[in-house]
Symmetry: C2
Subunit: 143 residues, 2 copies
DNA sequence: CTTTGACCTGTGAGTAGCTCACAGGTTTTA
DNA sequence: TAAAACCTGTGAGCTACTCACAGGTCAAAG
């Protein structure tokens, strides 16, 4: 298979195929006639695997590690479980953080309803922002 | 004020001060003796403003625009309200997306409880991932 | 058989918002 | 007076792609 064929087979951008190849996730051979990359069914499996793993939140280095373990005939599954658990924890942290942010934002919005716009006066730029955490006293210590 | 002093005043990394200066958010003068950047109270206000706006999810270009409007003696507040509303919408979309992801992840995790690890056999790399969306039939079409 | 268009190649830049590293100049402290 | 701490600008690194570029290759149409 050539780049575009592989890309279509996994429904990704051909540039992504090239990128993954550069990154060492795919290891095509070469057609000695024209120097084109030659991918096979195994590469298609790897690419599809990589895409699914990405959707599950694995990073490219993690995916590369998993593929390398599989290449060495070790089961990558224990590692997959492990990394996956960590990712889940992190996703939950991100959700909590965003919900916190949304809370602060809606609080700020409703506090702003009552506030006039005002022009910059050399001391303040826009009161809405400069005083938003007083209006929404939920301390947003990020991270 | 010099870079580090301003940075401490707003509790940011000195490199962030330099970066914001490069980006045109801060406009220090120069000390002709040694060519050092000279910041004043106005810059401190701008920097603090920028940091608060970042916490609220404004991008640097947006913040620059707001500051420029204020420099022109126009009230930036209507724009602030507008961009802010958009950001809130986006934050809510991000939350929904992450919750969707978490749902898929927890579904996958519980499906994996029952599955053995297995070694790569030339057809599969790690069943956990390759079959995860069959186990968790919630189609995750990522936008 | 030649042209045209679609494909291939590698490389480098762009995305956001910093953060860090580097090499060299200045100021402060011991 | 010398070391430590700061300043300067510039450039790279982080993520996971995506796109642009210049030049080589190949299939079908004229």
């Amino acid at each position: 298979m050539k780049v575009k064929e592989l890309a279509m087979g996994a429904e990704v951008n051909p540039d992504t195929v090239r990128f993954y190849t550069r990154e060492g996730l795919l290891k095509p051979t070469r057609n000695p006639d024209n120097n084109y990359q030659q991918y096979d069914a195994e590469d298609l499996r790897r690419l599809r695997f990589a895409r699914k793993a990405r959707q599950l939140g694995f990073s490219l280095p993690e995916i590369r590690q998993i593929l390398e373990q599989a290449d060495d005939h070790h089961s990558p599954c224990p590692m997959v479980r492990d990394v996956f658990q960590q990712r889940l924890t992190e996703v939950e942290r991100e959700i909590a953080e965003l919900q916190q942010l949304r809370k602060r934002m809606t609080a700020a919005l409703s506090a702003w309803q009552a506030m006039p716009d005002g022009s910059p006066d050399g001391h303040t730029i826009c009161r809405l922002i400069e005083h938003w955490d007083e209006a929404a006293p939920d301390k947003g210590k990020k991270e």
